[in-house]
Assembly symmetry: D2
Homo-oligomer: 346 residues x 4
C-alpha cells in the first residue's frame, strides 16, 4: 500500500457529463482525492442531487468557482463550456496544473480560434503554453506541461486512424473522408429539442455537414503539421440513438496492407489503442464506458482503397478518460492508473 498523500484534485464544471465522468473514473483512482467541485447554477447542491449515480461517494458540495480555495489543489480539471473556460483559467492560481476539456486551448493559432469559434481569445498567454492533449502523440510534452488542452472527441477519433498514416506518407492527402456516427452524450446535457428522446431515438441524421464542424480546426492543425503541407479532410458527423460511443469510418487511398501494418506498428506498445487483425472491424459497444480505442482496417474491392474503422467512447477516451490519462502523466503517475476498467457490455 502506498504511503504517499493522494493528489488533490478540483473539477470545474462538475454538473455536466464530462465532469461526472471524471468523478466516476477518479472514484477508484488509488492516488487522487477530489477536494473541490465547481458548478455555477447548481452551486450549493450535493453531487447526489445532480447525478444520483454518484450518491455512494463522499464528495464535496458543488461550489461556485470564485468560492473555491485552490491553495491546496494540485491539479484542476476544467469541464466548462468553451469561451467560459478561458476566462476562468486565466484567473486561476499559477501553481495549478490544469487539464482543460473545452475547445479553448486546442488551437495554436489565435486567428484560427477566432475563425472557428468567434471572438477574441481572452487568455492568449495560457494558449501559448498549452499542450495538445492527444496522449499517445504528445506524451513527452504532456509530462512537463502545466496546461493540457483536451481534444475534441470527434477530433480524437479521426486522428487515431490517420496520424500514423499521414506521418508515414502511406495515404493520399487529398482524398480523406471521415464519416462519424456519434452517440448523443457528446452533445452534453444541454436542453435542445433535437436531443430529446422522442426526437433522437429510432433514427439517424447528419449534422454540421459540408465542412462546418468545429473539430475540423483540429484536423486541419494537426494533419497539416504532420504532413508539412495543408491537409483538408472531408468530415461528416451523424447523430445516432446511442448514449456513448463514436464510430469513425475513414475512407483513404493507399495500400490496405501497408496501412494496417503502419497502424499495428504505431500502436503496438500503447495500453489503450488497439489495432485489430486485418479485416476485423470494431464496434462502439465493445469499448463502452472504457478508455480503450479499437481500430480496424479492411481492403476495399477498389484497388488501392482502404476503409479504417475506429471506435472509442466519447466520454472516456474522447474526453474524461483522456483527461485523466494526461493528468496521470502530469502528476508523475503511471498513465494507465485508474483507467484499466473493462468496457461495460451488454
Amino acid at each position: 500500500m502506498t504511503t504517499k498523500a493522494p493528489h488533490k484534485i478540483a473539477i470545474l464544471g462538475a454538473s455536466g457529463y464530462t465532469g461526472a465522468e471524471l468523478v466516476r473514473l477518479i472514484s477508484t483512482h488509488p492516488n487522487m482525492e477530489i477536494v473541490a467541485l465547481g458548478a455555477n447554477s447548481k452551486a450549493g447542491l450535493a453531487m447526489a442531487q445532480v447525478f444520483p449515480h454518484l450518491r455512494h461517494l463522499n464528495l464535496p458540495v458543488l461550489a461556485k468557482i470564485a468560492e473555491i480555495d485552490f491553495s491546496d489543489v494540485d491539479l484542476c480539471f476544467c469541464a466548462l463550456p468553451h469561451a467560459t473556460s478561458q476566462e476562468v483559467i486565466r484567473d486561476l492560481p499559477k501553481h495549478l496544473k490544469i487539464v482543460d476539456l473545452s475547445a479553448d486551448f486546442r488551437l495554436r493559432d489565435p486567428a484560427e480560434y477566432t475563425r472557428w469559434y468567434g471572438g477574441e481569445h481572452a487568455a492568449l498567454d495560457v494558449q501559448a503554453e498549452a499542450v495538445y492533449g492527444l496522449t499517445e502523440f504528445y506524451r513527452d510534452e504532456i509530462c512537463t506541461a502545466r496546461v493540457v488542452a483536451g481534444t475534441g472527441c470527434n477530433a480524437a477519433t479521426g486522428q487515431y486512424a490517420l496520424r500514423p498514416l499521414i506521418a508515414a506518407g502511406v495515404i493520399d492527402l487529398d482524398n480523406i473522408i471521415i464519416d462519424l456516427k456519434t452517440g448523443v452524450s457528446g452533445a452534453g446535457r444541454a436542453l435542445k429539442e433535437n436531443l430529446l428522446h422522442a426526437e433522437l431515438s429510432e433514427g439517424a441524421h447528419a449534422y454540421a455537414a459540408g465542412g462546418t464542424h468545429r473539430h475540423l480546426a483540429e484536423f486541419d492543425q494537426e494533419f497539416s503539421l504532420i504532413a508539412g503541407r495543408d491537409v483538408r479532410v472531408q468530415f461528416t458527423p451523424h447523430l445516432i440513438p446511442a448514449n456513448r460511443g463514436i464510430l469513425g469510418t475513414v475512407y483513404v487511398h493507399g495500400d490496405p496492407e501497408i496501412i494496417h501494418q503502419t497502424l499495428v506498428d504505431a500502436y503496438g506498445d500503447e495500453p489503450f489503442v488497439v489495432t485489430l487483425p486485418m479485416g476485423d472491424l470494431p464496434s462502439t459497444r465493445h469499448i463502452r464506458g472504457s478508455n480503450y480505442c479499437h481500430i480496424g482496417v479492411t481492403a476495399d474491392r477498389v484497388n488501392n482503397r482502404a476503409t479504417i474503422v475506429v471506435a472509442l467512447d466519447n466520454l472516456t477516451k474522447g474526453s474524461s478518460g483522456q483527461a485523466l490519462q494526461n493528468a496521470n502523466l502530469m502528476l508523475g503517475e503511471d498513465e494507465a492508473t485508474g483507467l484499466m476498467l473493462a468496457p461495460v457490455f451488454p
Copy 2:
C-alpha cells in the same frame, strides 16, 4: 365508390417482416383483397398469432404454398428468402403477375447471380423476363411486366442518390463512396446473435465492409448500364440501433449546385421522392413507416466535392412499399394508391 371487384392478392412468405409490411399497407388499399397468405413452418397459424399487430384484420390462415389455390389470384407477392424464391416462382401458374422481393431476379446476368449468391439459378427463363423494380426508373417496363424484381433496400438507397447524377454525367465515376447506416429490420426476423437487443442497442458497427455486400451487384449492374462503362462504387453498410430506416451518406466529386439541380429536376414530378432545398439534410425518423424518400445535398468545403444524404424506410420504400407501388402499376391502378400514409413521428 368504385364498383369494380378488388384485385385478388396472395402473399408468400407472410411470416417475415416484409410480408407483414405488405399486409399492413394493403389493409387500407381500396382495391386489393388478400385471399391467400403463404408460410412454411408457421402454416396453420392465424396471422394474429404470428403478428399480433395485425389481429384486427380479417385475414386468411397461413397456408403451405403447395396448398394455395392460385386460380383466382391476380397478383402474388413473394417475400421468400433468395434461392427459395426462384424455385417457388418457377412453379407458379403463368397467369399470375408476380412481384418478388428477394434477390433472385434482380441481376440480369446469370453469371453475376452465381458470383454473388452462389449456385446455379433455377429459373433462368423467369429471370430473363423480370423487370428491375426501382419504380421511378423502370415505370414503363413495370406497367407491362409479368414479373418484377424488387430491389435490395440498400441498393435502392444508393440509387436514388446516384442514378440521375451518373445519367447526367455530373460526377466522377471513379470516386463514389456510399456509407449507409441501416436499421435492424433490414436483417429480417432471423435468430442471429448480433440481432439481439442486448447486442445491438447502444452501439454501431460496420459489416460486410470492403466490397463484399451483395447489394453491390445491383450497384454494379445499374450504374454501369447507365454510364455505358464499368462503375465500381465503394460501399460500407453499418448497423445502428433503430428498427426502421436507412440513412445513406454519399460522397462524390462534382459541382454541388449542379448535383442538387440535377436531383431536383429528376424527381420534380415524383410522388414519393423529394429533393430538399440545397443544404437541408434528411433524417430517417421523418420517413419512418412511409413510402417517402428524402434526399439532401450539401457542398463540402473541399472544392468540387458534394455530400448527398438519402433517407428511406427499408421496409416500405426499400421493399414492401416499393413492391406495392409496382403492383399498382402492373394492375392498372394509380401507383400511389394505398401508399400516401404519412410517416409516423415520433
Copy 3:
C-alpha cells in the same frame, strides 16, 4: 366517390406532438380538410420546418391564433397546454365544434379542477357543456356535443381496463392498483432534462408516485360516478425508453374468469378496443401508431386476484386518435373513418 364538401378543420397547437399526430391522421381522412394551423412561437413557419415528416402535405402556414379566420371552420381541435386552452376556447366563435385535448374541460367540478391544476377556471360555462371524450362510454353525448374534452392518455388506459368491471360490480373497489409504463412522447416536446435521450434511454423510473399524478382526478371522477360511491385507486406511472405506447398493469381483487367475460362483453362490438383470449397479454409494440387498444386478463395464483394488462398508443388512442374518433361522431361521420390504419411493427 363522395361528392359532399369536406369538413373544414382547424388545429390549434399544431407544433406539438398531438397536433402533428392529428395532421398525420387527418391527411388520409377522406372527408376532412385542414384549413388552419395555429401555433404561437412558431407562427409564420411552414409545417415542414417544424415537422419534416409532414413535408409531403399541402398545409396552411402556421399562424397565430388571433389571426385565424374561423368563419368557415366546422371543427377545431385544440392541442394547447392546459390553462392556455381554456382562455383560447372561451373566445372562439360559438358556431365551432371543438375537440379539446388539454386537461381543461375534463373535470366537471370546478373545485376539483382548482385542486389538481391550481387557479380559477377561466371558462366555466364551456366546462359546463363539455362532454368527457372517452368515446366508447360517452358516444351518445359526444354525437350531439359542441365541446368534447379529450381524456388524459394515462386516464384512458386505466379506464379501458376498469370501467366495465366497476359498472358490473365484479371487483373490490378498495383494492385497485394501476401501474403504468409510458413512452416518452406523452410528456410532449418540452425541453426538460429528464426527457433527453442520454437521460432517459437504457433505464426506467417511477414518477408522480404516491397519488400525485393529475390524471388521478379523472379516475376519481369517473370511477366514483360509475360506482355511486367514492373510489380512490392507487396509480404509479413509470417512464420507459420508448417513444410511443402505454402499458397498464392493473391489479384487482375479483374472479378472473368473470372479469375477463365482463370485458369481452363490454367491448365485443367496439371497432378499436379488443379483449384478447383469456391468458393472452398485449404489448405496446403491437398497437404502435394505431387507434387500437388491446386488453388481456390473467388469473393470479393467489385466489380471487386478477391482473389486467392494457396497451394503447398515447398519441393515437390516448389523445389524437381519440380526438379524431370523437370529431367523426360530432360531424356525422362513421367514427372509424380515417382511423383504420394498422399498427406499425416493427
Copy 4:
C-alpha cells in the same frame, strides 16, 4: 502492495453474459487471477472472439469443462444453465469453493425444485449444503460455506424491498404485489425471437404473469421462512427496451413512515444497499454497471398504503456482482473488494 498470492479462479459458462460480467469485474480485482474459463460449444476460442470488449485482457482460452485442471483452483464460479449446473457441480473436486449462478441450489426443498423446474435433482447432497446467496442476509453462513447459490435477479430485487419489512412485521402479508420492469440482458444471450432488437425495442409487455415465474419459488421459500407462515406474493415481470437494470415497484399495506424507517435501519451499514430519503425514488440508469441497489419509499394517498421502488443491475448486483461479493467473503477478502466501481451514466 500485498504480497500474498492471488486466489486462483475458474469460471464455467464464460460465454454467457453473467460469465462475461464476472470476467469484467474480476479484471480489476487486486487479489484474484482467472486461471480457467469453461465453455462448451465455444471451447477453443479466445475470449476476445466471444466477447470483443474483453480483448485487452490476458485470459485463458475457453476450454471444455472436462479438460480443465482444477487442482490449483481455489474457487469456481458456475454460470451454467440450470439442470446442467447440478450435473457439473456434482462431479467437481470437493476442495473447490463454488459460487453457482444458476437456479439449481437456491431451493432447500427438493420437492419445490421439482415442482418449479421439473425433473429429479441430480446433486441433492450439494443442495443440502448450499447457502442462499443474498449476501446481506446470509453473510455469516456464506463466510463458511463451500457452496453458495446465487439468487435469481428478480428474486433479489423483490427481497431487498421486502425482507426487512416482513421480518419487522410492519406490512400485511396477504397484500404484497411486486411489479418488475426488467432489462433484456436478464434473459441471457439465447436466440429467441422476442429478444431480437426489432421485436423488443420501442415497446413493453408483461411475461410469465399470473404467478408462473420461477423466481416465485424463491419468494415463497424466503418470505415464508422469515414470516413463520406461508406468504404468497403477486409478481408480474415486464420486459422493457433496456439492456441492464431491474426496476421493482412493490405495493404494500402498512405505514409508509415506519416502512421507510425499517429499511433505513436494515441497510444503514451496508456498502451496496442504499435507502433513499423518504419520497425519493430510484432509477435503473443510476445503478447501471454497478453493484449498488437503491431503494425508495413513498406514501400513497390511500391511507396505510406504501409504494417501494427498488433498482439494481441484474447482471451485477442481481447476479455476477453478488457472486463476487459472496466469493470475497468465502475467500476471506473484504466483501467489497473489486466491486466499488461507480455506475456508468449516461
